[in-house]
Symmetry: C2
Subunit: 216 residues, 2 copies
């Protein structure tokens, strides 16, 4: 198909498709003349993956390029692909080096030990958890620290089911692409459902006793 | 304290503090001379809140301004503050209008009905969930749709505990600030812990049967 049809099929503008081609997020089509190229179903699929990573996952162009390179590398383990996706999704947290960070690091390491998780110190989730708990302490709130085991107990079976749901289904491309999409789209779905429950719980409270300035 | 000490206490550069003052994210200090102002503990607290929203939550300056306005408005319900925070956190999803969106909307509405949640159609979580499920369908994967009830069942008690943990603790300012921080930092903590479990589960699989190109 021509670029115009690729655009129509995916809802991505021709200008964006050309940008992704220049940035190496989309492989070149088969050249049919100096100014024209033909694209196939693999371009439709790749373009949708790119848009999911960028639009839903909020990944940068560079992060998306890293993830796609890992997806396309035949010799790379699923474990490595997941790590690259997690890095791109969570980004590099701005780690401050203070007492709050030390205490948060200990909280997280103790949690990992209690639950028997296999997590390297450079895991982007570990770094993010430390920074979030340290931020909480600096802000004088211990709500997250008090709920830490509840969070871990609740999320562990869910996250294990997520991994189980993509591993062992179809060929390597399906598994790897499913893992990338599951990581990115699943994070968005969790945030979305949590928001819905918060509204629901807060609406139930609002129809009960109100939180107003007079309570303060 | 002078701006230099405010900077030292919070780890935020003087240039950033001046930017936040100009953008209205930080109230002005008490002017002591044409070029100098004095800041108090409320500035330390507010500055840390601003940094948590921007650095951890990834909120925009405009989104942060909306959330702070809701926090500071005496007459505004906790329910409204939470809604404003959720809007700023999730942003406006790019909703496409196609059959996949219609089917995803029905999936989410059925889920809400099954669970008896009080969620308005404009809830940012609902819109995000619809867009994510529609994106999944367009990408040809039904992993998230199959796990939808599992996600909901798992997250509902956790999200209810989060609301319960901040409501009824301290005065209105504590409750509102706790709700904002819980929404933003809790989302980050959930993503972080999920990432750790994924690495752990994937490491256990990697030490078992490997996923390599030969499996494809």
């Amino acid at each position: 198909m021509r670029v115009a049809e690729l655009s129509r099929r995916t809802g991505v503008s021709v200008a964006s498709i050309k940008y992704y081609l220049r940035e190496g997020l989309l492989p070149p089509g088969e050249r049919t003349s100096p100014n024209q190229a033909r694209y196939g179903e693999e371009h439709v699929r790749r373009l949708r993956l790119v848009r999911a990573l960028i639009d839903v996952g909020g990944l940068s162009v560079a992060g998306t390029r890293d993830v796609l390179a890992a997806v396309d590398a035949d010799e790379v383990s699923l474990h490595h692909v997941l790590g690259t996706t997690q890095d791109a999704l969570l980004g590099e947290p701005a780690v401050t080096d203070d007492d709050a960070t030390d205490r948060a690091g200990k909280l997280v390491d103790d949690l990992v030990a209690r639950r028997g998780w296999h997590v390297v110190p450079s895991n982007p989730g570990r770094r993010a958890a430390v920074e979030i708990l340290a931020t909480s302490e600096r802000l004088g709130t211990d709500v997250l620290a008090r709920l830490l085991d509840t969070y871990a107990e609740t999320l562990e079976p869910l996250a294990r089911r997520e991994v189980g749901a993509v591993v062992g289904r179809g060929d390597r491309e399906d598994v790897v692409e499913g893992a990338v999409l599951g990581t990115v789209l699943g994070a968005g779905l969790i945030a979305a459902l949590r928001t819905m429950v918060h509204e629901s719980a807060s609406a139930e409270l609002a129809s009960g006793p109100a939180v107003s300035a007079e309570d303060g």
